[in-house]
Amino acid sequence: MKLFTGRFLTIVAALALLIAACGGEGEETGTAADQSSTNEAVNEEPSLEGDLNLVGSTTVQPLAEVLAISFEALEPDVIVYVQGGGSSVGVRSAADRSADIGMASREIKLSELQEYPELVVHTIARDGIAVVSEPGCIIETLTKEQVRQIFAGEITNWNEVGGEDMMITVVAREEGSGTRAAFEDMVMEDVLIVDSAILQPSNGAVRTTISVTPGTIGFLSFGYLDEQTKAIAIDGVLPTEENAVSGEYSIVRPLNMVTYGETEEKTQAFLDFVISEDGQAIVVEEGYLPII
């Protein structure tokens, strides 16, 4: 009998927990719904509130996260959510309005503009792409042509470009990535990246792989440059912000945010903040290039 009561108590406890869980759930959804409806009602009030959803490129994501925190300090009633997903997902999410703002680390494709005619593109920053190797590499500079041959798999040993006798392992982003598309555009031109390249699904993963693997070379967005990898000069020009701003370093692409049709006030406020002096200061602080 005692055993039975014990079991019974467990049942009650389990059920209570479940019910509590359900209850909690309901409330939470309730408040979220309330919030968005009040938001529509009091849109004309000066102070902004509600959620702002940003979806897209993992290159833009870390920058957007930092921008979001500063924006929330200005507009405490707005909560900004920043999600990854990739440039293409970003464009599509903006177009079908599942996100307020889409993020893309590449130019918007013609096909996308045709499919979603009301897309509005806002360039929020520019970003250089650097060629990097593992930190122990003794090579300081390569010509653009050498870089192309290395990534094409024609040069396979570091000693062919003045380094040690060691196989070169190419690390690249996967097909569809904005960084890869920009790199192919500006460096590879019509040459294809070698098939045996290690492919990683994000800039961070590329950096991690290069930093722990001897003999590797790859490309990274400027925002990801640090002591974990060694940046290689292209035709003698180091990939630095000064060189990119001055135009000496040419592998630079735009980072975009896209909206669809007319934008809500809070969305516009965020975009205005991003291109404002304060916003651009953050862009520079995070290692990206300002728009002008």
Partner: protein, 281 residues
């Protein structure tokens, strides 16, 4: 005879060795993660959110919230469905007279078995196609929980079935003889005696959600902020380990998060073991 004995000894030593090696591997994996990870863990690690961006700094508070939120949401969807299905398959399915319904039962069983074998990335793909894009739930707790439900439903159904089968038939017969209806019998007699078994299934499912990564990698979005509603994106602890290791190379923090994760799994396993021992006693 001696030769045969030697052969036996050799073979048995090989078995001992393989088993010892397996246990050693287990101890090494868990030991390594926990010993390396624990150096990083303090109270602050649990109480601060990840700093986000590329630093890999910060703690895991928001990922704990996201994990708990996701586990509860998934279980809210999966438990009623899974338990009901289990009840049907044990209590009703065998005395169905209609041919048509009998066929449906065969399909239902086939469904459970198939679902149990589907790899998680397929659930992710499905969740991405249906919940994230077609239904516009976006990368959110809701999308992830619905995709996660597919993963744990077979687990809950199977444990429920086993728990119900373990209830002696005499209980049912006695209740029915006293004039109780079929459902009344199930609700008041069968379920209460099977509840501990069913709850191990629920705990097991919670463990599956906690350790799953692939599904949530493509449906949850990975935002490191604390989720505030069903529509928020989020990052579970397992996903955080992935992001830390792959994106930031903060292997120390990744190992610390993994240590918490492993400890949680050890704990859940312990609970299940104790409960099932208590059941069989």
């Amino acid at each position: 005879m001696i030769q045969r004995k030697i052969k036996q000894n050799l073979a048995f030593s090989a078995m001992w060795l393989s088993c010892g090696l397996t246990v050693l591997i287990m101890l090494f994996v868990i030991g390594y993660v926990i010993i390396k990870g624990f150096g990083q863990i303090d109270l602050e690690f649990f109480l601060t959110p990840p700093r986000g961006g590329l630093s890999g700094e910060g703690g895991i508070s928001s990922t704990i919230v996201a994990t708990v939120y996701l586990v509860i949401t998934t279980l809210v969807f999966a438990t009623p469905l899974g338990v009901s299905a289990g009840i049907f398959l044990v209590e009703y399915a065998d005395n169905i007279k209609s041919r048509f319904v009998q066929k449906l039962v065969v399909f239902a069983r086939f469904g459970v078995e198939t679902l149990a074998g589907v790899p998680s990335i397929i659930f992710g793909l499905f969740g991405y196609a249906l919940f994230v894009t077609s239904l516009h739930f976006g990368f959110s707790i809701l999308s992830a929980a619905l995709a996660g439900t597919c993963l744990v439903i077979p687990v809950i159904i199977r444990t429920t079935e086993e728990a119900l089968k373990a209830v002696p038939n005499s209980y049912r017969e006695a209740s029915l003889a006293m004039g109780a209806g079929k459902w009344e019998t199930i609700w008041k007699v069968v379920l209460p005696s099977a509840i501990t078994g069913i709850s191990t299934g629920i705990v097991l499912s919670a463990g599956r959600i906690v350790s799953e990564t692939a599904i949530f990698y493509v449906t949850l979005g990975g935002s490191y902020r604390t989720p505030t509603s069903l529509m928020s994106s989020g990052r579970t602890m397992a996903l955080h380990v992935y992001y830390l290791a792959m994106e930031t190379r903060a292997f120390d923090k990744a190992l610390a998060t993994a240590a918490v994760l492993v400890l949680l799994i050890v704990l859940l396993n312990l609970v299940i073991n104790i409960v099932s021992r208590w059941l069989s006693a």
